[in-house]
Amino acid sequence: MRKLKIKRPSLRALTLPGLSFLLAMAFGALLIAFSDSTVLKHIGHPWSFLKAAGVAVWQSYLALFEGSVYNPSLATPHDALLSWYPLSETLVTAAPLILAGLSVALAFRAGLFNIGAQGQFIFGSIAASYVGFHFHWPIGIHVIAATVAAIIAGALWGGLVGLLKARTGAHEVIVTIMLNYVALYFLMWLLGTTTFLRPGRRDPISPDVLPSARMPLLAGSNYRVNLGIFVALAAATFVWWLLSRSTWGFRFRAVGANSAAAKTAGISVPFVMTSVMAISGALAGLGGAVHVLGSDFSLTSGTAGNFGFDAITVALLGRAKPMGVVFASLLFGALRAGGGTMQANTNTPIDIVLVIQALVVLFIAAPSVVKWVFRLKNLKTTGELAAKGWNG
């Protein structure tokens, strides 16, 4: 009997994201060159201009690499391994992003556009933080309880969207955008209450979660890398299994690809919408837990940062596939971690990183640009991300 052909993300599928990234880096290089005042001094002399530009771009991208993966100058005589410290930072940033990205990707596959990962992430952070600082439980149990609380909070916040869509037809994009605001302002209100405001502080910040509720560190106290990255990878594996090996995922994909046919075959579309949004919410909520229990420890109004929105980018870049999301998140984590070093060591502002991220998305959304630049004829550009209309 033949074995099931698992549709691995083949090289072809990686072509578009890969080339888009290359092209974005190339545009970034132009920006670096033309925004550098020392380079611009040579503008009248083409040869020295090119040389100066090359140096500026090389130094910026080297700094980006040193800030995100490996920096030999960080090594001390006692600890040569410290030069890998930037990689730890990349993983710390990537872990919550993977989870939020999975949340968006899963909903995508079921035909839903979850813009609400941000709100679900916030609710996860609130629940994890509250359980983490309010209760005094033993090591192990405490961190698990805080994580589970975050999963439940995210699932409820996400499931609400699915329920509204299934019952009333309310479009998930509108609902999630609005619920993001509700979540943010709810968080800001909470931080003014005596329960959440850190004693002795007037600015909105919660108490640190207790050490017993923190994600265990993986490489000792010199590095921030923690169990969160493994939680994220486990979640990616779970989402892969869910989508390609479980009856639930089968239904999600069926409804996502053609809800009329799914309904005709006896699949309950309202149930699928509600459950997929609940699971999506749970993943984003888990992202909040990993962030608060793994690296941030306290809640502020900016706790969720840009995770929920970068999640959309990452899901797009990863073509809504779990492994794709992992790689895309690692890449974004590296860009974020390295951007700071780049700004500190060179004349290049951290904003270049944002430009590169935005360009990657732009090129993926407009594949004809990539095709034209690289003279590709048969690049497959249709994937799972066919956008749905407002009636979808």
Partner: protein, 500 residues
């Protein structure tokens, strides 16, 4: 105006869709292009209309080579086309659709539709199309939408009119009307390229017939050739046009429908107090013109309609109120009217499409863990049993031809224990070979003692398969007649004429 194609060749990857096709259509001629689905007829016409660029070959209008790159070039050369799949904006009115691309504006850029309205009314009255210029397309039955497409081509003075399967959705009367129109147009000097696989129509109107098989012109025929000869040329082997209906015994009622009323969201009754029963080993055909409530009756059988009154008794148990899933598992096989929209999920694999309904039951799943190997091995079995022509069961279903897609739907629906088969337009858009298969399979189910409820707008199909025929008109069953009824009589009933 004459149209000539010389050496048109087009390949899509490894598939040679058109292989150096030569074709000449004379002024005022109805030239039928006969071929099975996937033979390359549509590709050829899309090339003529500027939708697809040929790899090689040239198009001549009145013996002058024309460079047709866009549909607008084709229109400028006097070539108009009515597509098989409608090119209409659903949320626009008829008039708005017809002026699309040729809008006239009045004061301060206001859209002026009055002239278009007049012209639509004129054409509509002339050919009895009964089209109101101000109706929204999405509210119109498929048949009327088709007429809008035809009006559009007629209004822009096409001298060569390409009709791609124009009669697929028309009633027998409407088809006769269209054939008359085609003859009239021909009389006025318009050339018509008539793409079809319906032999009766070809024989009735065509002046010349070109037969295409697998991208090549395999022959020309005159309209005097017999249907059987034409079908054999088209398919490339002998075909049986009318299936053998063997002797069989009719049993107890399996399905009893009482006072069935189906309403739309606004409360309007689309189906009004319908009563019928289907017995074991019997095919009850519900005939009627598209849009007279048959689709809603079919969908109500498996609870896909929301506002339903009355009762549907299957084998002694009420069906109404159950979920779709429960209805299907109560023993109803359901072949929906639209394979593409309701029957199949285009981006999922053939194997997955075969188990849409059973994916969470053994042997395909244990708990929520699916067994991919079982899914594949069962798909291989279905492939053999239903003669589904495919390369790999893991390919997406969209890689299959229409006939093979329908076989997948049938294979899925008949793999549950079935008491009643509900088949809605089961051969719409299929080629002769696939129609033969589907008909045989439906009769096999009947002979095995199952009740079959067939919904069809095709007279030939109804007459070939049915034991009894119920004719629906405006949401009601006008009459239920035995299968011996003549095609003419049936056609009149479908038009709402009940004679005393």
């Amino acid at each position: 105006m004459s149209l000539e194609l010389r050496g048109i060749t087009k390949s899509f990857g490894a598939l040679l869709a058109n292989d150096s096709i030569d074709l000449r259509v004379e002024t005022g001629e109805i030239h039928a292009i006969l071929g099975e689905n996937g033979a390359g007829k549509s590709t050829l016409m899309n090339i003529v209309y500027g939708l697809v660029a040929p790899d090689s070959g040239e198009i001549l209008v009145d013996d002058v080579v024309k460079n047709i790159k866009e549909p607008s070039d084709a229109l400028a050369s006097g070539i108009g086309m009515v597509h098989q799949h409608f090119m209409l904006v659903p949320v626009f009115t008829v008039a708005e659709n017809i002026v699309l691309g040729h809008e006239k504006s009045g004061f301060a850029g206001r859209l002026d539709l009055n002239e278009a309205r007049e012209r639509i009314k004129k054409v509509s009255d002339q050919f009895n199309f009964n089209v109101n210029p101000d109706d929204l397309i999405e509210g119109l039955p498929v048949g009327v939408q088709q007429r809008v497409e035809i009006i559009r081509a007629l209004i822009y003075d096409a001298k060569v009119l390409i009709l791609d399967e124009p009669t697929a959705v028309l009633t027998p009367q409407e088809t006769d009307d269209l054939l008359k129109i085609m003859k009239e147009l021909k009389g006025q000097g318009t050339s018509i390229i008539f793409i079809t696989h319906k032999l009766r129509e070809v024989k009735e109107v065509a002046d010349r017939i070109t037969i295409i098989r697998r991208g090549k012109v395999v022959g020309n025929a005159s309209p005097d050739a017999s249907q059987k000869e034409l079908a054999s040329l088209m398919v490339g082997r002998e075909v049986e046009l009318a299936p053998d209906k063997g002797a069989h015994s009719i049993g107890e009622p399996v399905l009893t429908v009482k006072d069935l009323t189906v309403r739309d969201n606004s409360g309007r009754a689309l189906v009004n107090n319908v009563n019928f029963e289907v017995r074991a080993g019997e095919v009850l055909a519900i005939a009627g013109v598209q849009g007279n409530g048959q689709s809603e009756v079919a969908r109500a059988m498996v609870n896909l309609e929301e506002h339903v009154e009355g009762s549907i008794i299957l084998d002694g148990a009420e069906v109404i109120g159950k979920s779709v899933r429960e209805s299907l598992h109560a023993g109803i096989a359901f072949v929906p009217e639209s394979r593409e929209l309701d029957g199949l999920i285009a981006s999922m694999s053939i194997a997955e499409n075969l188990i849409l309904d059973l994916h969470d039951l053994p042997p395909y799943a244990k708990g929520i863990q699916m067994s991919p190997n079982t899914v594949l091995s069962e798909a291989e079995k279905r492939k053999v049993e239903f003669d589904i022509r495919l390369q790999s069961v893991t390919d997406p279903i969209s890689s299959l031809s229409g006939g093979n897609k329908q076989k997948v739907v049938l294979a899925r629906e008949l793999s549950r224990p079935v008491k009643l088969l509900v088949a809605s337009q089961p051969t719409r858009g299929l080629d002769v070979g696939s129609i033969e298969f589907v008909h045989k399979r439906i009769l096999e189910e009947r002979d095995a003692g199952r009740a079959v409820l067939l919904f069809s707008t095709e007279l030939d199909e109804v007459l070939a398969l049915a034991d009894r025929i119920a004719v629906m008109y405006r949401g009601e069953i006008l009459s239920i007649v035995p299968s011996g009824v003549s095609a003419q009589e049936l056609g009149l009933l479908m038009a709402g004429v009940v004679h005393a």
